[in-house]
């Protein structure tokens, strides 16, 4: 097990190294510098370039960027002078993490509920309603959903704050908007698993021992169908990260998603690079944790890993 984890951590570091290198050279491919403002005299442009280290040859820039990354230094932002990228990310990651976690919890719980009910009442109207919910969740683009929530619930009915980040109440609408994708995915997955489990022999055995239908669900079916849900946490994290870009933008939340979009429009390359690496880092760590967790929860998987 430890050998397996070490191997995976090794791959994680390699992956992040490659991502950082590719992002770095992609950014170097971009035409021009952020400072080619015709109003600036040449000597000032030179001074600005020197300040950001852009006057050195590319390989030196690459080396110093990579060395900087090792201790969390991602360079300075072009847009906010004097602010380091790491500081910018750290000061903005709080709201994003909070929203992501809230959305994940809300989406997974509701999704499990919806999927389980659909499976238990398979081929009835309950199942159809749950399926429609799940498919709608996949079909409405999250930014449209966010904008509509904002318009109807916050602007028209004034039930929630329209935007900005001010206490828990302002996190409710963005959480709902973000939770839609995980909810749809979990519900769909849960239904499939639960239908399988409910058809299995041990459920039949439990029923024949005299348990009621709901007892078997509570004692056996629910737990066993929830194991594979762990595998979709990875894709779910992707959904949440991507969703955060637009949802934070719609609700003007000072998170990293909103910063990412802002940096794209202002060509703030160091921040774009830093955030790309940050997103990859979070995603790879989530996937690693999920893989390890899965082995712990379901020992059969671990045995297979070792057999290979």
């Amino acid at each position: 097990m430890i050998k397996y984890i070490l191997k995976r951590v090794g791959y994680l570091i390699l992956t992040l190294f490659l991502v950082a290198s590719i992002t770095f050279f992609l950014m170097k491919l971009l035409p021009g510098t952020p400072f080619n403002n015709p109003k600036l005299p040449p000597d000032q442009i030179e001074a600005l370039k020197a300040q950001y280290g852009l006057d050195k040859p590319v390989w030196q820039q690459y080396l110093s960027y990579m060395l900087g990354l090792l201790h969390g230094d991602m360079g300075m932002s072009f847009q906010f002078s004097g602010q380091s990228v790491s500081y910018l990310i750290m000061s903005r990651i709080g709201p994003s993490l909070q929203l992501g976690l809230q959305a994940m919890i809300l989406g997974t719980l509701l999704g499990i509920l919806l999927g389980a009910v659909a499976a238990i009442r398979k081929n009835t109207w309950v199942d159809s309603v749950a399926t429609i919910f799940a498919i709608l969740g996949r079909s409405i683009p999250n930014f449209v959903f966010a904008a509509l929530l904002q318009f109807f619930l916050a602007y028209k009915l004034r039930l929630f704050p329209i935007a900005l980040w001010d206490g828990f109440s302002s996190s409710i609408l963005p959480t709902i908007a973000l939770a839609m994708a995980p909810l749809a995915n979990t519900a769909r997955f849960m239904r499939t698993e639960m239908v399988d489990v409910l058809n299995s022999d041990y459920i039949e055995l439990a029923r024949s021992k005299g348990e009621t239908r709901w007892q078997t669900v509570a004692n056996h079916a629910l737990r066993n169908s929830m194991i594979p849900i762990v595998t979709i946490i990875g894709p779910m994290a992707v959904d949440l990260m991507v969703g955060s870009l637009v949802v934070e933008n719609v609700f003007a939340i000072p998170g990293i998603g909103e910063q990412f979009v802002k940096s794209i429009t202002t060509n703030d390359y160091p921040v774009i690079m830093g955030l790309t690496i940050m997103y990859s880092f979070m995603l790879t760590v989530v996937i690693l944790i999920v893989d390890i967790l899965y082995g712990v929860i379901d020992p059969r998987i671990r045995l297979n890993e070792e057999a290979n």
């Binding site: 992956t15 498919i135 904002q150 239908v195 990260m241 990412f260 995603l283």
Partner: protein, 332 residues
């Protein structure tokens, strides 16, 4: 009891022709025919298919007949609410917050879905936008299909060291959220339709490649492949003649799931401002423009939103139906 006399001539001997016994009364169905039969029984999928066909036809036909020029507006007609002729349908009568916005514009001026902030006819823009979004989605999907299938077959077929390396590459590529990759690519390329298609195609092939590889690994050791090898067919020919047909159901199902993803990607990229440059309309740019005017002119967001939701819903439902039809064992 009846004592009617039964004479032997009342009975007739029935001979069973042994050749008739084995006769197949219904024509044998190929795999595709069987799948199509199952698909036709799925009403939801068929309705979705028709919805897609109708939307596609309308979006193509409006190249020739469009209510107005989608890219040219008149500043006299900015932000007009929907109005259809002089019929008084609530929501389509040109009134907004109790004010007739069409007052003083002449009797024959009306826009079925209103106009945007530059006075362009929203309906015409939705037609163009749907067409552009569909084209982007289809081409990107084809692109991503080609890469995914080729990659998956090569990786699964060759196996060994090459497979390991190719799987590592997939692992690395998939550890960056693919929209972030798409964003980076769009920053490097010049914004436009081609670069969006490239960005979507180059980031979306991973799922396809994984599925194809897994299936190829299973098929690789089966007898019919062995037979093809024994008669001396080349690897490329085996791949095309024997593997691809057996992979077709996975390819079809996955393609159908990729199309709505691509529609979403395009909308997403345009929404965050790195999609199609103005004045080209796509569902994404329309939604992006609409969201800016949401509080004052909600119809500018709602109508494009309806189109994209219906389109994605139809594709998702059709994809579900196709999966059930081609893969009846997976009971969802």
């Amino acid at each position: 009891m009846a004592d009617a006399k039964l004479s032997p001539d009342l009975f007739k001997r029935v001979t069973v022709d042994s050749t008739e016994k084995e006769k197949i009364t219904t024509p044998a169905l190929t795999f595709t025919q069987d799948a199509m039969r199952r698909l036709r029984q799925n009403k939801v999928a068929i309705v979705s298919l028709w919805v897609i066909i109708i939307i596609a036809i309308v979006s193509v036909m409006t190249i020739f007949i469009s209510p107005a020029n989608p890219n040219k507006g008149s500043l006299a007609y900015t932000n007009l609410p929907p109005k259809i002729a002089n019929w008084n349908i609530p929501g389509f009568n040109g009134y907004q917050d109790g004010v007739d916005k069409y007052a003083g514009l002449g009797k024959n001026v009306w826009f079925a879905l209103g106009t945007d902030y530059l006075g362009r006819d929203l309906l015409s823009r939705i037609f163009v936008g749907t067409r552009v979004s569909l084209i982007i989605a289809l081409v990107a999907t084809l692109f991503d299909l080609t890469i995914g299938v080729t990659y998956g077959i090569i990786s699964g077929w060759l196996g060994g060291r090459i497979d390991t390396v190719m799987q590592r590459v997939i692992e690395i590529v998939s550890s960056v959220p693919n929209l972030v990759v798409a964003i980076l690519m769009l920053l490097v390329f010049k914004p436009g339709m081609t670069s969006i298609i490239l960005a979507i195609g180059l980031t979306g092939w991973i799922t396809m490649a994984r599925l194809i590889r897994a299936q190829t690994l299973q098929l690789r050791d089966q007898e019919f492949i062995l037979a093809a090898k024994t008669v001396g067919e080349s690897g490329g020919k085996i791949a095309l003649k024997h593997l691809v047909p057996n992979l077709s159901s996975i390819i079809i199902i996955q393609t159908m799931f990729t199309i709505p993803m691509a529609i979403f990607f395009e909308a997403f990229l345009s929404y965050i401002g790195i999609g199609l440059p103005a004045p080209t309309a796509s569902l994404g740019t329309l939604l992006s423009d609409g969201q800016k005017a949401l509080q004052t002119q909600p119809y500018q967001l709602i109508y494009p939103a309806i189109v994209i939701v219906v389109l994605m819903l139809a594709f998702n439902l059709l994809a579900d139906g196709l999966r059930d039809a081609f893969d009846p064992k997976s009971q969802r």
